[in-house]
Amino acid sequence: MTTGVGAVGTSGPAPLPAAGPFDPPARDEAVISPARRIARLAAIAVAYYLGARLGLRLSLVGNDVTPLWPPTGVAVAALIVFGRSYWPAVAVAALAVNLPISANPLAAVVTAVGNTLAPVVAVTLLRRVGFRRELDRQRDAIAIVFLGALASMLVSATIGAVTLVASGSITTAELPAAWAVWWTGDAMGVLAVAPFLLCLPLFWEQRRWPLRRWVEAVTIIVVATLVVASVATTGPHIIFLTLPVLGWAAWRLQLRGAAPAALIASLVATWAAAEQVGPFEGRTLLEQMVTLQAFNACVALTSFFLSALVSERMQTAAALSAAASELERRVEQRTAQLSAANTRLVQEIQERSEAQEQLSHEEARAQREHQIAETLQRSLLPDRLPDVPGVALAARYVPATADVQVGGDWYDVVQLPDGLIGLAIGDVAGHGLTAAATMVQVRMALRAYALQDPSPPAVMRGVHQLVAQLPVPEMVTLIYLVYDPATRRLRWTNAGHPPALTFTDGHGAYLEGALSPPVGVTVDGSFTEASQVLAPGATLLLYTDGLVERRGVSLTAGLDRLDREASAAPVDDIEALCDRLLDTFLDEDHIEDDVAILVMRPAISVDGELDVRLPAEARNLVQVRSALRRWLKESAVSDHDVNEVLVACGEACANVVQHAYSGQTSSGELVVEARLDDDRLEVRVRDHGHWRPAADRGGGWGLQLMDALMDDVDVEHTTGGTDVRLRRRVQMGGEG
């Protein structure tokens, strides 16, 4: 009951499912009934006693020398299977055996103690090394041979032999021989009997044998018995032929075959020795003992080692097979996991694709918003510029392509009292609806202030106050100009905006001066005014920075370029001018900042007169015509008459170009002046060259046309040049 559980070996290979550890006795003891325990005790005692009687029958010399002492095997097996607590059965049986053959009761008791103590020691040692009664490992075979049999039986042999001497049964000189016989007898009893008894529970503990296996087992036992019986009784030295049969049994059936075969072999051999037949015939006692014990040892070692080896092999194979199937199972499991992961991945990809689709929807929505913003921005700007007599106006707004937000660029034209025209262009910093809202407020405020007092500083101060009071002050750049058509005077103030450009006939100039910080930035908001008379035929261009600002290009370079491009553009159509500027300066696919431009060109004639001065070159004829055409139309001359006057004037100018300065290295000046008094038109075409007779000029159609198309053509030659006056009454109402 007190056996240490810790004695169970843990150093060996992990026990396989088929073989339980060598500790079940402890658990059995706890649950079995006392009656069953007593039955077991009785059974052990009876078996021990019967084994002893068998052993005595096999003694070589009377009752003294028993080469095989089965009771020790019975005791060891019983204590291994049922536990050490069953020792009293052994003790009682041993006493019962020894009482009749001992010199006195005391000697019998001591001998019985020795016979009991030896199995207990054996079992204790086996437990300590983790012995498994299945004997399916080589270490178990080694353990039962060396610890269970040879070592432990020293106890019983020593105690028994010494008791024999002490009781006077033998002399001291006989002690070594008696001790050796006792020891080998006990050890062989353990080796021959114990494994056989230990194999018996395996028949129901381990996998049941099929019928085929039973047939084989019986065959093996029969063959082994026959072989052993024949060799042990006939041949003097061929007893070793038994060994292959034992090997066969161990190979095929392991312990369950080897242990019975070994027991039979040992019993038969011992019986042969006791009967002094076969190889034992005519031998001395010592020779018999040596031969018998060597044979028994060989039988035991062969059987148990071989069966243990085969068991181990089979276990290894089973383990490998189990490992393989485990591996297969894990592969299947892993495959299933991978498959699941794959499914998840596919699902994830699908989800992502759906998300992508959603994103495209978002993009589409952003695009729609951009369109809405752009529409909003356009609607916030003047949808059409006012028709102002005496000035032509054109404007453009281009939203940024790179920005989904509404821009802050704006422009406005206000017709003011006394025929004044107010022009404004500005840029509210930032984008989005806030900037757009500020833009609208600034624009409306500017209109209101301008109508109240057109003075540029006054208007700008009002705007400044408004912007400064905004909940979220924004930076606003702004140019405000007032143009007086009567005097062609421009008055302006500039709050941080790129300067306006004026240009005429290839010459441009920026309106410098009256520059102040952007509105809403400074505290005081004081603004100055500058003014300039717009040259006849000059064009005014207002713009926002998006037109001229480029990454990596200085503003100065941008302004220079604008000056060049605007000045070089044809002047007669400011709508075309706007388009041309946008084409030139903007990359249609990528407009970084929104752009607003506003162009104003006053009528060439302010007081009814046209005055055009150009180099007398053929390429300038078209400019003269466009200037005259514009002037005539603005003067409300009918289209029909405009065309005829243009032809007449064109012929006069062509004459100048062709003839006036021929022979000179550089062309002189062509001057075209026109005036209209009511419906009386006079066009003067002058040069400073030489007049040549009409005969020199191809066809003379020019003069003919002039004569035909005008009421009166007067050509006056002076040394200073020629003066052609073309006069005609014209039809008014050119709108038709």
Binding site: A618, V622, R625, Q658, W701, Q704, L705
Partner: protein, 154 residues
């Protein structure tokens, strides 16, 4: 060629159609007609210069057309001009009596029937796709005078 005028040409059978859009004056007329004279292939029997979209024409251009006509006649190629009624250049054409040398029609021939060209009625309907630039009848009541037709120079 200057920016003043643009030239489009199209050949239909033996007829070469040349359409001039813009203005012809001293600066570009000679250059343009000379280029035309060189460009017309020999297989062409009729050259039609459509001036429906020409907004200005001066005496230098008239002279250039005379030269072109002479040149083509030498190559047995007929030159015809198309000047619609109401065209701004109509006056110049008539005043220079160009039509006495070069036939002037009011509309271009049908591309599908080039040989019927000469049979076109003189007052044929102008090409509907190219209305005369001067729409003097667009607002006949604009000034209430009803003198739109009176502007025509006969």
């Amino acid at each position: 060629m200057s920016d003043l005028a643009r030239v489009d040409t199209r050949r239909t059978g033996t007829t070469q159609l040349v359409r001039i859009t813009g203005e012809l004056d001293l600066s570009n007329a000679r250059e343009l007609t000379d280029a035309l004279g060189h460009a017309v292939p020999t297989g062409v029997t009729h050259v039609v210069v459509d001036l429906s979209a020409t907004t200005y024409l001066d005496s230098a251009a008239i002279a250039a057309f005379f030269r072109l006509s002479q040149r083509l006649r030498d190559r047995r190629q007929d030159l015809r001009l198309v000047v619609p009624d109401g065209s701004p250049i109509r006056a110049v054409i008539e005043l220079t009596r160009l039509s006495q040398v070069i036939p002037v029609d009011e509309s271009a021939p049908e591309p599908s029937d080039p040989m019927a060209y000469a049979a076109l009625p003189h007052d044929g309907v102008p090409d509907s796709t190219e209305p005369p630039p001067v729409a003097d009848a667009a607002e006949p009541d604009a000034d209430g005078t009803g003198t739109a037709d009176g502007h025509r120079n006969g």
